[in-house]
Symmetry: C2
Subunit: 320 residues, 2 copies
């Protein structure tokens, strides 16, 4: 590790906010897989509890995330928030920057908020969010909240790769079938029906419960609960924090927490391998080879499968 | 090619519906990349015009797709529909099966409808949808409609990998910012505001137009239009078909159609290579190696990056 990397590392471990911010920026902007500092950071992780919060656009996830952060913060621990904001295709920037979000929560040294843009990084996004969380974890943040909009596989992956995953719906989300469509049901440890004072709220809660009832379960299965909140008024947030505590307790008692985390690490390793394989494979020469042969695929002289085989034939690794 | 594969192939080329259905089922269920029949099928593709239709759940995509299919069908050509239905995590089946959908359109030999489930196939889904379309293309269907819910990268990829991509919104979709959040704006060649008689419709159209105005464009750029429809009553469908015709004409005149199709084939080849590399790499031995070392990552003795490096070091291909 270079001297200034070493200095960054020490500052991060001491919880220096500016060093944390700087290192996360590096995580976001770097294509390199696991530089020395990130390797060093990783060895100091595993202490933070990671909570994913997801749901359709407009469900009130940011409000819930911010108020939940305040509850955990009030207990004395520090809280990190990683908000994955889908990016506007026209501006190239995140729709909600850190500044906008900061207005929602008190300026508090114990709460660190970071927005990450989701644009153009589909596959790498989960890895970058996990690495940003590693930085916060190493810096001593006890609780890390991932907030993502639940409208994409990579966004769901991020929220799902947490110790506890909370799915936020509103009565207007339509019936529970729509929620299932978005793939939210299978990652939820807890459901929150926000804007619970609106018409249709009780009906929506009942629909979700009914559908949850169809899931296979036994005595040792966590029973996914459904809570009502009115996040704008802070109603139900304490109950949500308590439900997250109960889920955490359940995971610890059943030894599922270790299993979950092991599975998560396995997924991370596979993703790193996949990215590196891709980088190794697509040398400038192979990209050129593909470009040159492409017109013969357009003319249907060759098929995409033939070209893939040809490209792979020159890759020594294929037979080992 | 085996004899019965050969027979299937000939039946597909003659447009035999049962052979088409059988081969698409094989595409759906096979993990193999490009068997002989698919290679043979590919050589007969490139004639169909592919249209993607996407948007949030509940926007009326199925109705629009079916009615649009009827318009194209009335012109004399045959029409294939590939509907990617998000799968219920509890049943394992597609939410809307072929049967349910069939009730919506007339039973007509010139329209072929196929539902594909999206569950659990994230990366492979685009490939399978493209291969199913290849089968229809080879079978002589002039127009192919892909219908996907616009709530996930892979679903967007499928709709985006078309010659013309239509994004369907409703006044209730909320403001245009929500649409941008879902990444819909950047793949749309045409916008449809369905349920155009509802309150807020004109406002929504104006918002979309305003945002589209921010996109960089010049004289040779296609100007993405916004159409209003009331698909349930069939209103606006003829206009939508005409707008698709105009976009097609534009692509042909500017030679963008060939470019689009070439880029699409490049993407398909890269995806095939990626999948094959992954298969080559994850031998039972390497999976076991990963399993064995995982506890040392949990204990933070090793990092995910170290493990990935170790695994790759034994892969001869990495240095070529």
């Amino acid at each position: 590790m270079k001297d200034d990397d070493n200095a960054t590392m020490h500052a991060v471990l001491k919880g220096d906010r500016r060093a944390v911010a700087r290192l996360i920026t590096r995580v976001e902007n770097t294509a390199r897989d696991g530089d020395e500092t990130l390797r060093a950071v990783f060895k100091h992780t595993g202490k933070a509890y990671r909570i994913g919060i997801t749901g359709p656009p407009g469900a009130g996830k940011s409000t819930i995330t911010n108020k939940l952060a305040a509850v955990f913060r009030a207990r004395g621990g520090s809280v990190g928030i990683i908000a994955v904001d889908p990016t506007s295709p026209f501006t190239g920037g995140a729709l909600l920057g850190d500044r906008v979000r900061m207005a929602d929560v008190e300026l508090d040294d114990g709460i660190f908020i970071r927005s990450m843009a989701s644009r153009g990084s589909s596959g790498g996004l989960s890895r970058k969010a996990a690495e940003a969380a590693d930085v916060l974890d190493a810096a001593g943040f006890e609780t890390i909240l991932f907030e993502t909009v639940g409208v994409g596989q990579s966004e769901l992956d991020i929220a799902g790769a947490a110790d506890t995953t909370v799915v936020v719906l509103v009565p207007e989300s339509g019936d529970a079938i729509q929620a299932m469509k978005a793939g939210l049901m299978e990652i939820a440890d807890l459901f929150v029906l926000n804007k619970g004072d609106r018409p249709g709220a009780d009906h929506a809660v009942m629909s979700i419960k009914m559908i949850l009832g169809f899931r296979p379960h036994n005595d040792t299965t966590w029973m996914t609960g459904v809570l009502k909140t009115q996040a704008n008024d802070g109603k139900g947030i304490d109950e949500l924090a308590a439900a997250i505590d109960r889920h955490r307790e359940f995971l610890v008692q059943t030894e599922s927490l270790a299993q979950r985390r092991q599975a998560r690490l396995r997924g991370r390793i596979r993703a790193i391998v996949e990215a590196k394989l891709d980088t190794h494979f697509w040398t400038p020469e192979r990209s050129q080879e593909l470009d040159e042969v492409l017109s013969r695929v357009v003319s249907r002289e060759k098929t995409p499968y033939d070209v893939a085989d040809d490209l792979l034939a020159h890759f020594a690794g294929r037979t080992t």
